[in-house]
Symmetry: C2
Subunit: 334 residues, 2 copies
């Protein structure tokens, strides 16, 4: 292989075939993908299905705790899982900039393959476009996932009920702060790493253990505060959070306070919000804590009657409204 990607690799001809077989097939190896028909044939998947898509444009491409490759698998696997589904298959579409280092592409492809293996999903169909220098920033990846829904009822942002317990699977803000620190070269942020992780196995355990789960959502762009606001609106309920109960890692708290950021609005890529009836809260928390990705799971609040808004019981005993993120704290976080 050449050192840098040439425009020809997106032509659909021999040069495309070489890139596909030498890089993508080698890492993603599976017989469904290798058929090379216009679409993948999936004979062993049964509805109801969950389907979700995300394009990943994160910069830098590689950051502490992950890369655009692992993120592109985790993000979509998690979105599918949040519907109470077992993620099964992913599509993967690359938009690559002419001149991209093939070593970087190889590293990112290997990260995707490793993440897919851990999550137990197969990448079965793909697409590669190469655009001229300056037409995109190095590499964008789209993944679309489908999975088999097994939860009944299906968790939804519309299903929170007054009295429900609001749980999170761990600390908030690690991914957002890591990407920002890594992009800006903030050397004082040495103790932070992205939480990017596949949550599907943990989700399956939560659903089996707690039996009745009203809401599952992952607080990505906009963070915990924005996602809870969406749920409050969808379900037409209030949500009351205990500030002291929300887990935030020391390094993230310090970094945020230095930079004037609020960790409750920072993106997470390996956390879930889980809203369950009060009497299922303990079972759900225990299931989370059994997972390597839920060790710091905890209860952070309660669903209440009344106006669709999120309130925070503060450290010093007051109450303040936690609005939805208005604009961008930081673009290209995922």
């Amino acid at each position: 292989m050449e050192d840098c990607l040439l425009l020809d690799a997106g032509s659909g001809g021999r040069a495309s075939q070489r890139l596909i077989s030498q890089c993508f097939f080698r890492h993603f190896a599976n017989p469904l993908l290798e058929r090379m028909d216009d679409a993948a044939l999936l004979t062993d998947i049964h509805g109801p299905l969950a389907m979700s898509t995300d394009s990943y444009t994160v910069t830098p491409l590689i950051f502490p705790g992950g890369s655009i490759g692992s993120l592109a698998v985790h993000g979509t696997v998690n979105d599918v899982a949040m519907l109470g589904a077992r993620p099964r298959y992913l599509s993967c579409a690359f938009i690559l900039e002419e001149g991209l280092s093939l070593e970087t592409l190889e590293r990112i492809t290997a990260d995707m393959a490793a993440a897919a293996r851990e999550a137990g999903v197969h990448i079965v169909t793909g697409d590669t476009k190469v655009v001229p220098r300056g037409a995109c920033d190095k590499i964008f990846i789209n993944t679309t996932g489908i999975g088999e829904v097994f939860a009944n009822p299906v968790p939804s942002g519309h299903s929170a009920r007054p009295g429900d317990a609001v749980l999170v699977s761990g600390a908030m803000g690690d991914h957002g702060l890591t990407v920002m620190g890594s992009r800006e070269g903030l050397s004082f942020l040495t103790d932070v790493a992205s939480d990017s992780a596949p949550l599907n196995h943990m989700i399956e355990d939560i659903l089996q253990s707690a039996e009745e789960v009203h809401v599952l959502r992952d607080p990505t762009r906009g963070g915990l505060a924005t996602t809870l606001n969406e749920i409050a609106e969808q379900s037409q309920v209030g949500i009351l959070l205990e500030e002291t109960a929300i887990p935030v890692h020391e390094a993230v708290r310090n970094g945020c306070s230095f930079l004037g950021l609020d960790p409750l609005y920072l993106a997470n890529e390996g956390k879930c919000i889980c809203i369950v009836p009060e009497d299922k809260a303990e079972a759900a928390l225990e299931a989370m804590r059994r997972s390597p990705y839920g060790k710091e799971a905890t209860r952070v609040g309660t669903v209440t009657e009344g106006k669709a808004q999120v309130s925070l019981q503060t450290r010093i005993g007051g109450r303040r409204l936690l609005g939805m993120l208005e604009g961008a704290q930081l673009p290209r976080i995922c």
Copy 2:
């Protein structure tokens, strides 16, 4: 709405919600999409499934006969259909450049919605990223489609057999030449327009009428010659084409001869290659001709024993090998 897209619209907060509801929901309107959970819940789809993905980066965004919006629906719908499947659902992920004209985005979204309606598919889940100026070229769209496979056996590039008839549903090269002409402002190319079209209804008719269809492929990037080479390799057969039988519109032939291009290597976005047993050829051609997109359907060659290669019986009686496209004739054609 403002006139130009702001970075905030990709934040995941209120500004994102406004773009989604004012533009995407308005055009794509359907209850599955509007649930706004992390994934779409699809309760009425049954396997076996076909799944296909494509990212669209075509420039210019709007060209005679279509736009990146209609193309993004047709391309993926056709790929799913080529597996002998009924396309049902699409995901849609936008990567948008800060500063993009909202009027352009609206026009493209409307084109997607119209194309989806004609094809009978629903856009059920989506994603919107906004990247800073210069990080992408205006707008890239990924669509991923799933459909229900009804053909039995399932058509595949691996299934061509010696003696089969090779059919095409119409003239070659219109899309590729149109995009090139439109990009370069070639004023003498006035009589060409993209053939971009949804082929799923025609495909369904072909499969029902011809009963046994060995191969269905759409000759997009790399054109007829490259796609037939892929089939020859996959099936380990020869393919012999009659040059005089291959339909090429007069304006495309003239444009290609002026520009030194070969229409057999130019992309098509509304055509299919159909390989069937000799005794099914008439039924398949009749089905194609019943469709508004197959009026010029015709037989162009025969599958032969022997080496996996494509040969052309030329106008003057000789034979020449038609190789696979090596590099790029033209980047960003789709």
